[in-house]
């Protein structure tokens, strides 16, 4: 059974950028700021490409929602080994307000349309950290989910997934089709090679709009305020353990 795999990739502000809050305090500065593929999505693409190399997957489709620049992110996925891309066009202003539920609806519709057997996404995006898309997409599709995957093995008609959870590692079996979200230690993404970057130019990226999938992207959430984390305050030194315990009690911590 050769799987058709879809992978969701998101274009986010590069992890190394020094983030600045916008003067209107409703978001962060994105204009002129370096963006790149969400690191967890790189891991997701890498895993899908490895499945193809192991002949478990027959096709890897990279999907991204966003403005025109999202195509750069899809090209990166193609250069890493994805076969083709789908760009769901969402203009920049709407992108700011796009919620995980919208993305989940879009992904669910696409998976059905394409006849996908497996959807892999990064566990969370490093800009909003919501960690919700995989779970909601699975729910909309009524598919099993295996989140925070650190290892994926294929057995007959099923996936055996090791999950990183608070208590340690958990191993579960999910029937296909399924949704998986990629965690940090699932793999180490490859560098695209120059020849693959050149080949990626020729791979197809299909364009569509949320409306083409009958998905309404009207926002349900309103950002009230975005603030910098509070400036770190000075600490105090204590003389001994008794002093420490007293201070902690005074602060209501214990």
């Amino acid at each position: 059974m050769s799987l058709k795999v879809l992978v969701g990739v998101k274009r986010v502000i590069d992890y190394a950028v020094k983030i600045r809050v916008r003067p209107d305090k409703l978001g962060v500065v994105t204009d002129g700021v370096k963006h790149s593929m969400n690191p967890f999505d790189e891991i997701a693409i890498e895993e899908a490409v490895r499945l193809k190399e192991k002949k478990i997957a027959k096709e890897v489709i990279a999907v991204s929602c966003g403005p025109a620049q999202a195509q750069e992110t899809i090209r990166t996925a193609l250069a890493m080994g994805a076969d083709r891309g789908i760009h769901v066009e969402v203009p920049a202003k709407e992108m700011e307000k796009l919620e995980p539920l919208h993305v989940s609806k879009i992904l669910a519709k696409l998976v059905e349309k394409e006849g996908g057997d497996l959807l892999i996404v990064g566990k969370q995006a490093i800009d909003d950290d919501t960690n919700a898309t995989a779970q909601m997409t699975a729910s909309l599709l009524n598919w099993p989910q295996a989140t925070f995957a650190s290892e994926i093995k294929k057995t007959d008609g099923e996936l055996e997934v090791t999950r990183e959870i608070d208590g340690g590692l958990e191993s579960i079996k999910v029937k296909l089709p399924a949704v998986v979200s990629a965690d940090l230690r699932l793999n180490e993404p490859r560098y695209a090679t120059l020849p693959n970057i050149m080949k990626a130019k020729k791979k197809k990226i299909q364009k569509m709009k949320p409306g083409d999938l009958s998905v309404d992207v009207t926002p349900h959430l309103e950002v009230v305020e975005v603030l910098d984390p509070p400036v770190r305050e000075a600490g105090i030194k204590v003389d001994d353990v008794e002093g420490l315990v007293t201070k902690l009690k005074e602060a209501g911590r214990i």
Binding site: I13, D14, Y15, A16, V17, K18, I19, R20, V28, T30, D31, G32, V33, K34, H35, S36, P39, I43, P67, A68, Q69, Q71, E72, R75, T76, A79, P91, A92, K93, Q124, I126, D127, D128, D129, L184, R185, E188, P189, Y191, A192, T193, L194, P195, I197, M198, A200, K201, V226, P229
Partner: protein, 425 residues
Amino acid sequence: MFVAALITKQVRHAATGRRILQGFQRQSDRNKVGTVAVRSFITSVDPSHGLTEEQIAIQQLAIDFARNEMMPNMAMWDEKEMFPVETMRAAANLGFGAIYAQEEFGGTGLSRLDASLIFEALSQGCTSTTAYISIHNMCAWMIDTFGNESQREKWIPLLAGMEKFASYCLTEPGSGSDAVSLSTSAKRDGDDLILNGSKAFISGGGDTDVYLVMCRTGSAGPKGISCVLVEKGTPGLHFGKKEKKVGWNSQPTRMVIFEDCRVPATNIIGKEGQGFNIAMKGLNGGRINIASCSLGAAQASLQAAIDHVKVRKQFGKPLASFQNSQFRLAEMATELVASRLLVRNAARALDNDDLDTVPLCSMAKYYATEKCFNIINEALQLHGGYGYLKDYSVQQYLRDTRVHMILEGTNEVMRLLIARKVLSD
């Protein structure tokens, strides 16, 4: 909250942060409501400004490789004088070994402009190592362009993957700028050539496998010179001691000595008497590459200086608030953009076989290597005492780029070449 700190070192993005200059907008990122985002071709302080999507992808690959695989090691390679064979092979596996050689026998088939972007990016990771990689690329191109089918078939696959490393041998103890007066001789003996003489300051010498040797097969003058490929291990091929240098310490530099060194005459690359022409054509590109290495080092140093002056305080204020610091940084940024324009222009000229290629490559080389060295020097000054410590990388960029004004044709020879063009009209 927008927090990017979740990724630990275990993801391949190491903790050495990628640098971008804020405040200089990427035209391609602007999305005006109601208008189509137009791709601009403007060069600016951010090296990715004005590039096509594919060029940005190529550049990003080189930036990532430099940041993850080279930058964490550059100080150690310099201090321990290590030739980082494994890292260079990893780079070659991505296609960086024979960037502008044709795809037919394993080259990557990209343009000189693409190569310039790559070397500029890699140079931020380690200027010395990148400079060697560019020399290796130059040799691969020479064989690919002037070699016959069997030579190309044999050597390009090995050089593209850096299974074998190459060195370019033109300079001699008695002939540097006066390259034409070289005296290493190659006398016919049946089907062989017997080489006698010595080459000086050879990058990679002693550690590399393949030597492209410009030697005299005919009479005096440029037309008596041929380009001969000599493999390491050939009897009669010896090496001098490893030179102790101010910089470029991640590549060994040695004299290459020929004592009755016998090689088959089929090792001549191109035609007999074509050697000087091949050497000079190789150097046109080599000059763009070295200038690109200077650009990368200057970019890294400029960014380091910017970061430093924002943080360092004296007289109750960050250094960035003093007009002197601001003026210096403005001048440095301007020289960087001017240098970059000249280098990319020369790369385009070479790609298009423009009539002015030689003077344009010469201009790019002398201007960029000089201005970038000054940028790095100023950046060191802006660091104050810290700039002089080996804990900070500015001093390594300074030491590594100093020699760029000397090799691949001194900046004085570059002026001769430009003057020739200027006075000929």
